[in-house]
């Protein structure tokens, strides 16, 4: 199987992500330049973290107008797997492939730290190697990660079980302090209703080798690989 990692001007987790899928998981992977019009046969597209276009206008906004994003949109709408990590999540929101928007963290601080995440739905292509209720320890690094949706949007999300990961404490409890950026309903990871597009603020590529302090992020990549192997 093959991963495509999209590179925007200002992406800074593109190499980490490529390294993880290629060297840690030994899968085919290549960079896809945002100005191209070709997904090069990738089975899964990853929009990596960073500060695409310097976060000008709004985080992820300008990247969502990139030429390649039209292909990514069509790929997603036809059922292709798309994972947005951090800035990639923000791009997916701006593209309208996921509902809601990101606001500045409520404490107005750039947060760069390990957080705990509770797996809320382990029946997605991105979490199937995990267990529901499992607590993952994965780092975050963002300024705009305070997930927002209105009441009607929140109801939709709950009804469709779209919340995949929630900020929690080490025991998996949803304490107020554990919701570090103030996200609505502790949302850290969200999937679309079709179940093929996921966005998450934490960085699984920074938590896939023991050298980096945690291997909990492997669940995400393992899930994708399992899913594609099974569904072809």
């Amino acid at each position: 199987m093959k991963f495509g990692v999209v590179v925007f001007p200002g992406s800074n987790c593109d190499y980490d992500t490529l390294h993880t899928v290629r060297d840690v998981f030994e899968q085919d992977a290549e960079f896809l330049w945002h100005k191209d019009h070709d997904l090069r046969g990738a089975d899964c597209i990853i929009l990596p973290g960073g500060f695409s276009y310097g976060d000008y206008l709004r985080s992820g906004a300008i990247a969502s107008f990139s030429p390649l994003m039209q292909e990514v949109r069509e790929f997603a709408l036809s059922g292709g797997l798309v994972l947005g990590i951090c800035n990639g999540f923000q791009v997916l929101l701006e593209l309208g492939l996921l509902p809601g928007a990101m606001l500045r963290n409520t404490n107005l601080k750039f947060l760069c730290q390990h957080v705990h995440l509770r797996v809320e739905n382990a029946q997605t292509p991105f979490t199937r190697a995990g267990k529901e209720g499992q607590v993952l320890r994965i780092p975050i690094a963002h300024f705009d990660g305070n997930y927002f949706t209105d009441d009607a949007g929140q109801l939709e999300i709950e009804r469709n079980r779209q919340t995949v990961l929630r900020y929690c404490d080490a025991q998996g409890r949803l304490s107020e302090e554990s919701n570090v950026n103030g996200s609505r309903d502790h949302i850290a990871g969200l999937i679309n209703t079709q179940g093929n597009v996921m966005g998450m603020m934490p960085h699984p590529e920074r938590a896939s080798e023991s050298l980096l302090g945690s291997e909990d992020g492997r669940v995400i990549f393992r899930s994708i690989i399992e899913h594609i192997k099974e569904t072809g």
Binding site: F148, T149, D150
Partner: protein, 80 residues
């Protein structure tokens, strides 16, 4: 022609930056300030467009690009 587009958070969206500015103003003694909302301003210079087209194009640009309609609203005026 110059158009000014004003983007601000919807009333239902908490604006922590505005809150922080308000707190700073209170610290300086401006107690009569009840609320502060922070926003963005865009000035668009335009040529060859009629007033009628403007009515259609500006909201379109604002919704598609300048604002995120999920969290923001906009207002606009002709300034030159």
């Amino acid at each position: 022609m110059k158009i000014r587009v004003l983007i601000s958070f919807k009333d239902s969206v908490l604006d922590p930056q505005g809150q922080t500015v308000k707190n700073a103003l209170h610290t300086l003694g401006y107690d009569y300030i009840r609320d502060v909302r922070q926003g963005k301003v865009f000035e668009l210079e335009m040529d060859g467009i009629s007033g009628e087209q403007l009515e259609q194009v500006i909201p379109e640009i604002a919704d598609k690009v300048l604002a995120n309609p999920i969290i923001e609203k906009f207002d606009w005026q002709i300034i030159e």
